[in-house]
Symmetry: C2
Subunit: 273 residues, 2 copies
């Protein structure tokens, strides 16, 4: 199994604090030694740092930890290989372009005997179940919406159905982002926290590091951090219920409960809760 970390914000924010704790799980406080990766959206562009080495022993991870890249959407992953060799092409997050947007994807879990009919358009480069699932998602979306992305509630519903379908093959926790929104699917284990004013101190679980968010924020900042398990031990994290897809935008989940059961629902006609 692997570990996921995601961040979605309303102002560009660095992930140095959370990454410090997360990085420790790649060989120091946990066993996820089979590579790691982190990807940052900056505007429409993307920086992807991948390393098949353990994150605790990676010069690239040191750079990421010390070089404060500010981003609205970040996806990180540390790997405990279940399918596919330990090499660069099997290292998450994976990236593709669809509709003139980059899409990033990272997966935690294990899909058994998952061999979908290969799509014509997006094909895996490596040999993981995860990249196969990512390509399957994108091939389905590209066929269904050939001209461009649908409204976010419709995309949410399509992804929810796809997640349930692929989740029939095993554990399918994932993070997916196009730089505007971040989708988080919980199959078994995924938590999140929203940090906003009034800000407080936070202390990492995996390292003895404390930060006072009052010192590094403005009152309007809002940041959602999503992780396989909580990264801090003095804050209240929300556990996402298995079988749930959340869509984060501007640092909080978009309310779509009332829309979720209607296929291809447009947000403009969604009744208020």
């Amino acid at each position: 199994m692997c570990q996921l970390l995601g961040m979605n914000c309303n102002v560009p924010t660095d992930i140095c604090f959370s990454f410090t704790g997360f990085q420790a799980r790649g060989g120091l406080t946990d066993i996820h030694q089979d590579g790691w990766g982190i990807a940052f959206f900056e505007g429409r562009g993307c920086r992807v740092f991948l390393d098949p080495r353990p994150s605790t022993d990676s010069p690239v991870a040191e750079l990421v930890r010390s070089y404060a890249i500010r981003s609205l959407n970040v996806i990180a992953h540390i790997r405990k290989a279940t399918h596919g060799d330990i090499n660069l092409e099997n290292t998450h997050p994976f990236m593709r372009e669809l509709w003139g947007q980059y899409w990033l994807f990272a997966h935690n879990g294990d899909l058994k005997d998952y061999a979908p009919t290969p799509g014509k358009r997006f094909r895996p480069v490596g040999s993981t179940d995860s990249e196969r699932a990512f390509c399957q998602i994108l091939n389905t979306l590209a066929l269904r919406y050939p001209d461009g992305p649908p409204p976010v509630a419709e995309l949410h519903e399509s992804l929810r159905a796809l997640a349930a379908e692929i989740g029939g093959f095993g554990e399918f926790n994932f993070l997916l982002s196009n730089g505007e929104v971040l989708f988080a699917h919980c199959a078994s284990r995924l938590s999140y926290i929203i940090r906003q004013a009034p800000f407080a101190e936070a202390h990492l679980t995996d390292q003895d590091v404390t930060i006072d968010f009052n010192q590094v924020t403005t009152p309007r900042d809002r940041v959602a951090v999503i992780a396989t398990t909580p990264l801090t031990d003095n804050e209240r994290w929300e556990t996402i219920a298995p079988g749930t897809l959340l869509t984060f935008r501007d640092g909080a989940p978009v309310e779509m409960q009332n829309c979720a059961t209607r296929p291809f629902f447009r947000p403009t006609s969604c009744p208020s809760p």
Copy 2:
């Protein structure tokens, strides 16, 4: 205008020496200050480092220069913006997946009023003429060869024709690689050198740095380095003739002169020169 650097080898080789000289052109010995990028194939996977800051003032460039990533195919670019803002999505090299392979592309030159009909599949994320040209190349190849790559001589000929067509809009020097071969198209300025036994010393043009390749090679190594202008001042670089596409494999250009005039020629039936 921009500067290109490419490397194609028969054994995984680090690019630290060449990159040291190249990096200096991003603001120190030359004016290309509008960002830089470098991408390394490792197996089927790719590491792409991008930075919209000048390469002489980039912590990411420092990491690349000091962390010896060994690769068979490398493409690097430093930018002097002509089309498109200075931001991450306009920073070369660009990457896409086609046929289950990653493709990397970087361009030097200036395409005037280049606005091809947008393809259905590969779309630019940023606003450069370069990314439009890359997407046009991939859309054409994907339509022409939907199931997978053709033999390399056929691909060479298709790319040669595409380069001539797009080159009608302006200067179109580019490097393109799928990790197996590296295509280098010279429209105006591009040189290369093949380093193989007997190896000698080399001295950079842009920095006072010397390397003795005898100390870091084995007799079977062969490395082709391709650059906008020669990176060393004591070696003989070959100037590529404008209008030429070279295909590098295993550290040397593949001989295709006798095949190049025949459309969709298969290498197996190509007569010896």
